[in-house]
Amino acid sequence: MVNPQPALAIKLGKLELAYPTLMGSGCYGSGEEFAPFVDLSKIGAIVLKSVTRLPRLGNPTPRLVQTPAGMLNAIGLQNPGIEWYLEHELHKYAGRPCKIVGSIAGFEIDDYAYVCERLAARDEIEAIELNVSCPNVAQEGETFGCDPDLTARVVEAARATTNKTLIVKLSPNVTDIVAVARQAENSGADALAVINTVRGMAIDVETWRPRLGNITGGLSGPAIRPIAVLAVYEIAQVVSIPIVGQGGIETLADALEFFLAGATAISIGTANFTDPRIPERLVAELQAYLTRRNIGSIQEIVGRAHVEIATAHQYEGDEG
C-alpha cells in the first residue's frame, strides 16, 4: 500500500507505522468494536488489551468513574488468559488495515516471558507492549514498573523470547520515572510508552464509600496531560529509543506538545470515548500542520521543545 502521507510515517524499532497514532491498550478493544464507524486504515496501530498467563475475571463493579477532565478506571486486566486468547481471539485480528500490537501483563517475571513468547510467535502480532504498570491489580502488577531493576528483569526475560519490537509501558506512579526508563532501554526495550494512568480515588459522599469496586483506580484523560508531557520531556533527555507519548491527547495542540516534548508517536485512549473520530481527525490535522509550516516530516519536530534554563542563571550572574 502506498502511504498517501509519508510525512507522518514513523518507526518504533522494527515496527513501521503509516501514521504516528496508536490506540491505547485497554481503550480500543480489538478494534472490531470501532471498525463499523472508524476507518482503521487511518490509524497507525491498535495496542490490544493486555493478556495474562491465566484467565482473569477482572475487578468488581463499578469500574469507571467520571472525574473532572478525565476518568478513573479499575478494570483489573479482565482477559481470558493466553491459551484461550490464542485459540479463540487472535485469528480475528488478521487482515486489519492497521498494525496490531499485543499487550501482556504478568505477576511473575516468568509470566511475561511465557506469554511474550507465545504471543509474539503469532503473525497477527507485529510488536509487543509490556504492561509493567497496571495500577489496578493488587500490588504485583505495578511492582515491576515501579522498580527499575525489576523492570529490567522483565524486559530482559521478554527480550530473550522475541525479535519483534518491544514497547515498555511505564508507570507515572514512581519517584523517578527516568531511572525506570533508562533501565528499560538498557535491558533491550525498543520503545517506551509514557505514561500509564495515574493512581487515584473518588469517594461517594452520599454512601461514604469509595466509588470504585476496586477502591483505587487509574486516572486518564486531559487531567493527566501535563504529567505525561513532563515525563516524556525528561525521559527523552536520557534515552535514545523512541517514545510513544500518551495521556489525555484530544486535539492537534495536545498531540504537538507530545512530539515537541520528545515523543516519536502518540497514543490515544480516553479521547476515543468522547468522539471516535478523533484519531482520524488528528492525522489529518497533523498533516495539514506540517504542510502549513513547510515541515517535511513529523520526525523533524520530535523533541524540539528542549531548551536550557539559561535566563535564570544569567540573571543570577548579572546580580552578582
Partner: protein, 277 residues
C-alpha cells in the same frame, strides 16, 4: 430475511439536527433528531452515544426513545454536566451521535399478555418495545413508577397506543404510593416481562419474574466508557453458560462459571435468570 433488502444495522457516526426540544417536566428533556439512518436501523432497547458538542469528555449513552421515519428521539433527565449540555441544545443545533448500539429487547415470541416495567428515565428504553409488542397483537401492561407525579412523563402516549397503565409514585401523588414493583407482585401473572430502570428495581423485577415462573428481559444502566465494547468498564456478572456471555474459558478450562459481560456490548438487555448480580 432471505430475498428481502437487508437494512444496514451497523452503528455509524451520524450528524443529526435537533428538530424539536420539549421539557416534559422540570429537568426532563425530549430531543427529536433528524436522523434517518439511525431511525431506520434502531431496534427496541438500543441506545446511542451522544458526542458532546463542547468536545469535553465523555460521550453520553442514551436510549433511543422513538424511531419513526426520518426521526429519532432521546428522552433524558438532567443529572449532571453532560446531560445539561445536551439539554441546552436548541432547534437547528447539530448533535453528532454514534448508534444504534447494543443488543436490545427481543420482542418476538408468542406471549399474549406481557408486562413492561419502567422506573424513572427507564421509560425512554421501552417505548419502541411497547410499540413492537402491540404491533404483533400482545396485550401490554405498563407498570411505570417515578418519584413524583410530574416525573411520570409520556403516559398519554403509551395509553393512546393501547397499553394498560399501572402507575406508582414514591410520594403517592399519582397512582399507587410506593414502588412500581409492589404493584407488579400483586398483579395478574404475565407471560413475559420487559424492564428498564434503576438497578434495585431491576433486581426486584428479576425476583418477581422468578416467582411467577416467567422470563424477564432487563435493560441495565451503568457508567459507560467507550460505549462500544472496547474498554470493559461497564460490566455485570453473568453466567458463563449464557448465549450473551463474552468469550471466556469455562471453569473446566481454567476460567469461571460467572463472567463479566459488557452492558454496552453484550447488553444492555439481559435475561434476568442469567444475571449473577
Amino acid at each position: 430475511m432471505i430475498g428481502m433488502t437487508m437494512l444496514d444495522l451497523r452503528p455509524r457516526v451520524a450528524a443529526t439536527t435537533i428538530l424539536e426540544r420539549r421539557e416534559l417536566a422540570d429537568g426532563v428533556i425530549l430531543l427529536t433528531l433528524h436522523a434517518p439512518e439511525l431511525a431506520d436501523a434502531t431496534q427496541p432497547g438500543q441506545y446511542l452515544m451522544a458526542i458532546p458538542p463542547s468536545g469535553e469528555a465523555a460521550a453520553t449513552a442514551l436510549a433511543v426513545y422513538e424511531a419513526e421515519g426520518k426521526r429519532a428521539s432521546i428522552l433524558f433527565f438532567v443529572t449532571g454536566k453532560r446531560t445539561r449540555e445536551l439539554a441546552n441544545l436548541a432547534c437547528g443545533d447539530q448533535l453528532d451521535v454514534v448508534g444504534p448500539l447494543g443488543n436490545g429487547f427481543d420482542c418476538s415470541g408468542d406471549a399474549d399478555d406481557v408486562a413492561i416495567v419502567a422506573g424513572g428515565v427507564g421509560i425512554a428504553s421501552v417505548w419502541l418495545c411497547a410499540r413492537e409488542l402491540l404491533r404483533r397483537g400482545a396485550h401490554v401492561r405498563l407498570f411505570y413508577g417515578a418519584r413524583t407525579a410530574e416525573l411520570l412523563v409520556e403516559t398519554q402516549r403509551f395509553a393512546d397506543a393501547g397499553c394498560e397503565l399501572v402507575l406508582a409514585t414514591d410520594d403517592g401523588t399519582r397512582g399507587e404510593r410506593g414502588f412500581v414493583t409492589d404493584a407488579l407482585v400483586g398483579a395478574r401473572k404475565p407471560e413475559a416481562i420487559y424492564a428498564c430502570g434503576p438497578s434495585p428495581m431491576l433486581r426486584r423485577v428479576g425476583e418477581i419474574a422468578n416467582g411467577f415462573g416467567v422470563r424477564a428481559q432487563l435493560s441495565l444502566e451503568e457508567t459507560f466508557g467507550c460505549g462500544v465494547g472496547g474498554c470493559w468498564g461497564c460490566v455485570v456478572p453473568l453466567t458463563n453458560a449464557s448465549a450473551q456471555a463474552p468469550n471466556f474459558p469455562p471453569a473446566e478450562r481454567g476460567g469461571s462459571d460467572v463472567v463479566y459481560a459488557r452492558i454496552c456490548k453484550e447488553g444492555p438487555v439481559f435475561w434476568a435468570h442469567e444475571l449473577r448480580w
